[in-house]
């Protein structure tokens, strides 16, 4: 295991219109590793992902503190020019809805070649050849013919393959995938996730996989970070997390899904809802919904403690 992680986020704090959204997130990803970032809507997982690429809408969003280090560089200190060289080249990103990320008036070939031309000093012919190679790699049938198609002529699964081809165009060392299969059917989801998994094994690319689907994380990720209320509340190797969840939120989340319960039985529900930014309670953010809270939980926010398996909880599951 290399000493230095590829990406290190430390104590990141982000606010939106003055309301804290991310309240001290620390994460590490090593080369070749797939890290799952899970949580429910509003927990801050997508904001964290966007901040890595400095794609936040600033303002109203603002990075208030902390650091993001990628391969020795401080991303928060880079100017726009340096960021543009990084984005799409060393760090690539794919989103949930490929239709809105692809330009409807350009062909698939144009859009992939453009990425290559932007970052590499090559001719159009070389860029086109690279685009065909990439379409082949992501499993698009008849890739040469697909070059001339427009996004609307492709299915949802094929569009996501095209997005992945674009993301891979310059052999990035980090892929940030924000809910890449949420809009897809399960049989297509399995194909896309298998593809991403194969690619990172082949190329040594690191993957930050953001999802709300615990099943997906369990099957593809090496490690998992669970977010709640703008913080990482638990982080562990995937097998360990699913076998022995320790934070009460992780424990409750795993217990509540239908797959963990005999059919027809009452599901152990988590009462209440996720508090929105600006309305987060004092102490541990989860304490009003927690069945195991103790006096201290409503007063102090616990620190994230532990090495391989870290938790932020005053009264963890044993």
């Amino acid at each position: 295991m290399p000493a230095e992680a590829l990406l290190t986020i430390e104590n990141l704090r982000i606010s939106a219109s003055g309301r804290p959204v991310i309240e001290g997130v620390s994460l590490e990803i090593r080369a070749g590793e797939m890290l799952g970032l899970v949580g429910e809507s509003g927990c801050g997982k997508s904001v964290t992902a966007l901040s890595i690429m400095r794609l936040l809408a600033e303002p109203p969003m603002r990075i208030d503190g902390g650091s993001i280090r990628y391969d020795g560089q401080d991303i928060l200190a880079l100017d726009e020019h340096a960021l543009e060289k990084l984005r799409g080249d060393r760090i690539a990103m794919i989103f949930q809805e490929p239709m809105t990320s692809l330009n409807p008036v350009f062909t698939v070939g144009d859009q992939i070649s453009e990425v290559v031309l932007l970052h590499r000093d090559v001719s159009r012919q070389v860029a086109d050849a690279r685009a065909v190679e990439l379409l082949t790699r992501v499993g698009i049938p008849a890739p040469a013919a697909a070059m001339t198609r427009y996004p609307h002529q492709l299915s949802g699964g094929q569009r996501q393959r095209v997005m992945i081809a674009m993301a891979l165009a310059c052999d990035p060392s980090l892929l940030v995938a924000d809910e890449p299969t949420t809009a897809l059917d399960v049989t297509v989801q399995a194909q896309i996730l298998d593809l991403i998994d194969d690619l990172r094994r082949e190329t040594g690319m690191a993957v930050l996989l953001i999802t709300h689907d615990l099943g997906v994380v369990s099957q593809y990720c090496d490690r998992v970070a669970v977010m709640y209320g703008g913080r990482v509340v638990e982080q562990a190797p995937a097998d360990e997390l699913f076998a022995h969840p320790r934070h009460r939120y992780t424990e409750a989340l795993l217990a509540t899904i239908p797959a963990s319960n005999p059919p027809g039985t009452r599901l152990p529900a988590i009462s209440g809802t996720v508090p929105p930014p600006g309305k987060r309670p004092n102490g541990c953010t989860f304490h009003p919904r927690c069945h195991a809270n103790v006096a201290r939980c409503s007063v102090d926010m616990p620190d994230l403690v532990g090495e391989a398996h870290s938790i932020r909880c005053w009264n963890p599951a044993s």
């Binding site: 429910e40 059917d185 049989t187 399995a190 194909q191 099943g215 027809g264 996720v274």
Partner: protein, 311 residues
């Protein structure tokens, strides 16, 4: 006689897309039938067609003994008291300019049930049933979270004490911790009200949890139907098997999976023979030419599969 009986129900959209083809099934009073399949399989069209929100192109819908396809618009309106629907997006289906109280009372007004006072009482009762505070009646939909909005939609659907509820991806847009609350609520109400539910979802783990029986759809047709445990533990159709193995579950290793090749064919131009043959890992010669049918359309208690592997 069952509460609902569909016989060869079909819906062809202009342009020739056969969204629903010759679907026959029945639902008993108080029964939950899960309908599962991927986008484009016709499950939502099936739900809307049996409510005649979309006019069927063929076949019949017998509800409580009456053929709904033969009813006039006026008679249909009366029957709708007993047939209600909830959708995926609880925001899109609630008028933002009306109070929650008005939204829930609207079906009562439309069907001339009670006076103003009686309706207000019923709204309070319904809010209580779905676990919302009484003061919710004077507030507007945007003041509520997604889970709470789905509770409002459920309260409205139950206002007239329907016999059949069509739930179309009713929990799909909700977060995990909220999803379980709504699943519990639906299960509870079903018990209390002896409500039959056609529960449409792409999520097999949710379908398994709530359904007594499951129908699996592919390109407009039911390819397998049977009791929940039979479908989940001993699926017969290769498509059902693939669908089950594609669902990632926490703590279950990714081994021996059937990952299907390709995607759903164009519903406007479905493959000849068995519509699944282009993606089937067990395809045989006969599958290219002859369409397999269910042995007992309408369903038997033991389960039924439309596949040449089981002649």
């Amino acid at each position: 006689m069952s509460l609902l009986e569909l016989d060869n129900l079909s819906k062809t959209y202009p342009g020739g897309v056969r969204a629903v083809s010759e679907v026959s099934l029945s639902i008993e009073a108080g029964e939950v039938l899960g309908v599962v399949g991927e986008s484009g399989c016709g499950k939502s069209t099936l739900g809307r067609t049996l409510l005649r929100l979309i006019e069927p192109s063929g076949g019949s819908i017998h509800f409580a003994g009456r053929d709904l396809t033969k009813l006039s618009r006026h008679d249909m309106k009366a029957v709708r008291r007993d047939l209600q629907v909830i959708f995926q997006d609880p925001f899109g289906s609630l008028n933002p300019r009306h109070t929650v109280g008005y939204i829930i009372a609207e079906p009562l007004v439309v069907h001339h049930v009670g006076d103003r006072q009686a309706r207000a009482k019923r709204v309070a009762e319904l809010l209580n049933i779905v676990g919302l505070p009484e003061d919710a009646a004077s507030r507007y939909p945007h003041e509520f979270s997604g889970g709470q909005r789905q509770r409002i939609a459920i309260a409205r659907a139950l206002a007239l004490e329907p016999k059949l509820l069509v739930a179309d991806e009713a929990v799909s847009a909700l977060d995990v911790s909220i999803q379980s609350q709504i699943i519990n609520l639906i299960a509870e109400l079903r018990q209390k009200m002896n409500l039959a539910i056609l529960f449409i979802s792409h999520d097999l783990s949710v379908i398994r949890h709530v359904s007594d029986r499951i129908a699996v759809m592919y390109l407009g047709r039911i390819v397998e139907i049977g009791p929940t445990e039979t479908i989940m533990t001993a699926p017969k159709h290769p498509y059902t098997q693939a669908l089950l193995s594609a669902v990632p579950r926490p703590g279950v290793a990714r081994v021996d999976r059937v990952v299907l090749k390709g995607e759903l064919p164009d519903p406007a131009n479905p493959p000849a023979g068995c519509a699944f043959h282009t993606r089937c890992p067990k395809v045989m010669d006969i599958c290219h030419t002859k369409r397999p049918v269910l042995a007992a359309p309408g369903g038997t208690l033991a389960g039924d599969v439309a596949c040449h592997l089981y002649p």
